[in-house]
């Protein structure tokens, strides 16, 4: 198994460092990458809301009423709005990763277009679902 030889002058604990956040100039593609990870982490903790809702429904009318009351409050709706956006942003970010996995969209124009499409698409889908929610509710 080959090992990376750093050569003379780079011994000791001087392992190579890749450029990191503080060094790069902020770019849309980089922001979308960070947003993908942040929305993923947000959705991770957002599953607590889904678990609460389902357990409340399974527990009975009183628990369900408490959960429903929270989700219908201003704070609850703001959190659900954020959850909706995080879900769609992460959803489209995942599709962007499929396109990359297939070997497409790596050129400057392509990756910029994908970044913009993820950003705009996530916001548009969120608005559409909330308009639909207003019609249903």
């Amino acid at each position: 198994m080959a090992e990376i030889n750093l050569g003379p002058g780079r011994v000791g604990n001087q392992r190579p460092l890749s450029p990191h956040l503080q060094i790069y100039r902020p770019m849309l593609t980089m922001m979308m990458s960070i947003a993908h990870r942040i929305t993923g982490a947000a959705l991770y903790f957002g599953t607590l809301l889904l678990a609460w809702y389902l357990i409340a429904a399974a527990a009975g009318p009183d628990a369900f009423a408490t959960a429903s009351h929270f989700f219908n409050s201003i704070l609850g709706k703001l959190i659900l709005l954020g959850f909706t956006w995080a879900l769609f942003h992460h959803f489209l970010g995942g599709i962007r990763h499929w396109i990359w996995d297939a070997g497409h969209g790596f050129d400057p124009a392509g990756r910029e277009l994908l970044a913009q499409a993820t950003l705009v698409g996530g916001l548009v889908l969120t608005i559409l679902v909330w308009i639909a929610a207003c019609f249903v509710g």
Partner: protein, 130 residues
């Protein structure tokens, strides 16, 4: 064995004569597989949630407990908790380096994902057989 301080390999991998990428790609692949599953499943999830808006207790329970929404919810939950477990694990691997903190964070991630998954599955099944 002479230790080369510039080596990228861990002590354990050197002893085992293994490279770094044997089963290491499995979770990357599982991430892709669950993401494929989650595209239709999260669309279904959004429609199920939309159908629950404004419903009282009896009709919400009836919706969640009927076969098609319940099966779609179960699939969504299972794919989600596995997907998010791998995702949070890579976040921890990237940012948490303190030895004990990292171990506890990885354990916490595993337990949280299992607990959420089991709680949601239990609730949907209870609603289905109520």
């Amino acid at each position: 064995m002479r230790h080369d301080p510039s080596s990228m390999r861990t002590a354990a991998s050197r002893v085992r004569f293994l490279g770094s990428a044997r089963s290491g790609t499995a979770e990357t692949w599982h991430m892709r597989v669950t993401s494929v599953a989650l595209v239709p499943l999260s669309i279904a999830f959004v429609f199920i949630v939309l159908s629950l808006i404004g419903k009282d207790y009896e009709s919400a329970v009836a919706t969640l407990g009927s076969p098609i929404p319940a099966i779609l919810m179960l699939l969504f939950i299972l794919a989600s908790v596995y997907h998010m477990k791998i995702g949070m694990q890579s976040i921890i691997d990237d940012y948490v380096h303190a030895p004990h903190v990292k171990d506890w964070a990885l354990l916490g991630n595993l337990f949280f994902s299992f607990a959420i998954g089991l709680a949601c599955v239990y609730a949907v099944l209870k609603l289905s057989f109520m």
